[in-house]
Subunit: 309 residues, 2 copies
Amino acid sequence: MRPWARGCVDPVSDFKTALAETADRVTVALDALLPRADGPEKTLNSAMRYAALGPGKRLRPFLTIECGRLVQADERSLLRAACAVECIHAYSLIHDDLPSMDNDDLRRGRPTVHIAYDEATAILAGDALQTQAFEILCDEETCASPAAAVNLARRLAEVAGARGMVGGQMLDMAIEEAGEGEVDIGLITRCQRMKTGALIAFSAEAGAIIVDADKDVRTAFEGFAHDLGLCFQIVDDLLDAVGDENLTGKRLQKDADQGKTTFVTILGIDGARDHAQRLADQAKEHLEIFGSQATRLKDCVDYVLERQS
Amino acid sequence: MRPWARGCVDPVSDFKTALAETADRVTVALDALLPRADGPEKTLNSAMRYAALGPGKRLRPFLTIECGRLVQADERSLLRAACAVECIHAYSLIHDDLPSMDNDDLRRGRPTVHIAYDEATAILAGDALQTQAFEILCDEETCASPAAAVNLARRLAEVAGARGMVGGQMLDMAIEEAGEGEVDIGLITRCQRMKTGALIAFSAEAGAIIVDADKDVRTAFEGFAHDLGLCFQIVDDLLDAVGDENLTGKRLQKDADQGKTTFVTILGIDGARDHAQRLADQAKEHLEIFGSQATRLKDCVDYVLERQS
């Protein structure tokens, strides 16, 4: 029995409330930032809203806001930067789900965008959500300082493009097609760092970029994001292998069905669990420089480790 | 017989030489900016290079460089902004050509990206080229002033996203699917302004944004780009109807085959030609404030009007 089961506050449950509150704030802000679903091209705008405003944990925006608070970044700047991050994440999910990529029909418990609309609309909605992210970051409402805005947008471009997220998706498909024994843990780790780690790193660093924080703060967020991102991916692989489809809201057992090499196939279930735990511990250690202020972020690490969806 | 046929320099021929020289400079600069085609995700980088470095008129980069020179913007800034414009243009062509959109197998005389590679690679290469454009604009090498960089990137986002180019492509597909009589010239004009006009406007305005030019200069470029862009589209529709596939390097008669309403179906061949001529004249008038310095841009207008490809 966990220590908080008798009368104490369960930190993960407390964290979930905080996460849900942030998710709501981000959704409201995004709703105001996205184009209205009217005019002759309204289907596009409607698909963008379906993808970006639908249910979701909003873990990346949460990181942006919580890490940004540790460096006293402006709340409004953080909320808008968080919206930009969510736009990039939503765009990547739309495109990854397409028939020519992962061919997924279910996402967050709902039909994917190309199922709910059509393929062309899905591609364009993803395209426009990517643009929207840069539009938000470069809007003068986001950062008072143009230097901060341009640094944010440049860093987002670095993590989202060919050397980051998009390159990682390319690599992920190559790994899927590779034969048994052709993929080692180095390649899988590179893929994870590019595909999911890079945007998680940006999410954690955004506030530090906005306030132009010291090198040691940047390094702490970088290390934290690196370990948290890798932990997140290993848990994702574990959920695909042993998770519950009703809880995750997406198709599972896809990796096994495709004979794909993952952290789980290389490390085994127990090995992967141990590795995820080790990374979670490391992620928390990076936050030590912030002392007790980082409690909520440490709870976030536990949540990532223990999540069922 | 044209006046320059006896001994004089043909301005359109002279212009074509200048256009080709600029195209070469832009291609060399882009070659250096795009990720190398190596590493495990090299297919992505190779597809990006195939799309962005292949043959092309580079008309938009030409506008960026020539308009920017009229306001004495830094040459290096202009060349890099021109590369960003070409990245957005190349990405839009890749995605527009996809089977679920215009389903084109030929572009600039070569197989389209999803034919030369595959559909997933084409989608990702387009995605990464869009990101690349923002990465270039936000790199400190492009603009000495962060304020200029952020203004450039914000304006590019406005013209490229849901309210601009992507929205225009959505509208274009809706026009294709609409029945006879459901589409009027207002809707077609809106579609053109969003789909092609907006990026052409950015191309012309980039230098003025970089130097933070006066309102009258911005207005002149805006008017010029508006008329040139619309002229360009009408000529495009004319080429599709009566052009030569060997010269254009892409499939023609597509509009007629699909029963699509265009400027040509509404205005007729002669009416469309007259309208294009009128727009070309207007475009030149907007350049009067620059006097003889704008000669090359006026030649560009003639080229757009008279082009066969």
